[in-house]
Amino acid sequence: MMEHTSIIHDYCLIRDHQVIRGDQVLYTGDKSMPPASFFTEIYRHFGMNYPKFYKMDNLCKLGFLAAEILLKDKNLQQSYAPYATGIILYNASSSLDTDRNHQNSITDRTAYYPSPSVFVYTLANIVIGEICIRHKLYGESTFFIEREFDAERLYTYVQQLLDDNLVESCITGWIELDGDRYDGVLYLVEKSPSVTNGIVNFEPGKLTEIYSRRS
């Protein structure tokens, strides 16, 4: 029997106007709401207090919220050294949503006022920065752009980080947003489990099973 050295400690999905953590649907929003309004509803519903949330672009809001819910009641700073938790994220549309906003602000040469606060989000990996700042994480981080969610590739990369002892835990998953389309799936993977209940092995099949979940 194959031995597993890593587990999926927990996971969070934000999609179809629902927030799911583990086996539970935690919140269901009005399906007519655009993503930005839905994200603000989530922020308020869970009583979050982080005013910078309002300044983030929608991609960062999605990643930030998924991380907040994933890490709720967990204290990574207590469990691991600051450099021992990594963040490896994937999506298909990079920061295109905000890139377009920025492009619109510089198209008219007679009213050329690019917004600094929009421009700073014209990179997909800024979402990693926002999560790291919030949770004081300093570990390995990368944002990959893929055509679609690829459980095998995600597993291989994260497992390598764990095997090489570059990280002991890792926040990883798919944070995709473009216009009204959004899909957020985050997993918390740990090398040395601090819990024994409800754990699942970290392997491509399990990642796909969770990713494919619809309530």
């Binding site: 603000t40 309002y54 600094p116 606060s117």
Partner: protein
């Protein structure tokens, strides 16, 4: 001046996405950065764009910027002293 301060507060809330704040929550005499609203360097750039876009005013030097962006009142005073027409 008070009318301009009220207008500026609304503009600041809008450009800095301070969605949870009302104009009355902003003390026009309080420092905008670090204390007070706790704004950061990106916010400073956004306020510089606001002055240029809405009032046609440019800040000449970093020193002038520090003075002008100290508070909502100092911004209003700068606009009153320099606005053309």
């Amino acid at each position: 001046m008070e009318q301009l301060i009220a207008k500026l507060k609304n503009e600041i809330i809008e450009v800095l996405n301070l969605s949870e704040m009302a104009p009355n929550d902003i003390d026009e005499n309080a420092p905008l950065f670090v204390e007070g609203l706790g704004l950061d360097s990106i916010d400073a750039l956004e306020l510089i764009v606001l002055l240029e876009k809405n009032y046609g005013l440019k800040l000449g030097t970093a020193e002038e910027g520090k003075k002008v962006l100290r508070s909502v009142r100092s911004m209003a005073e700068f606009i009153t002293e320099n606005k053309k027409g």
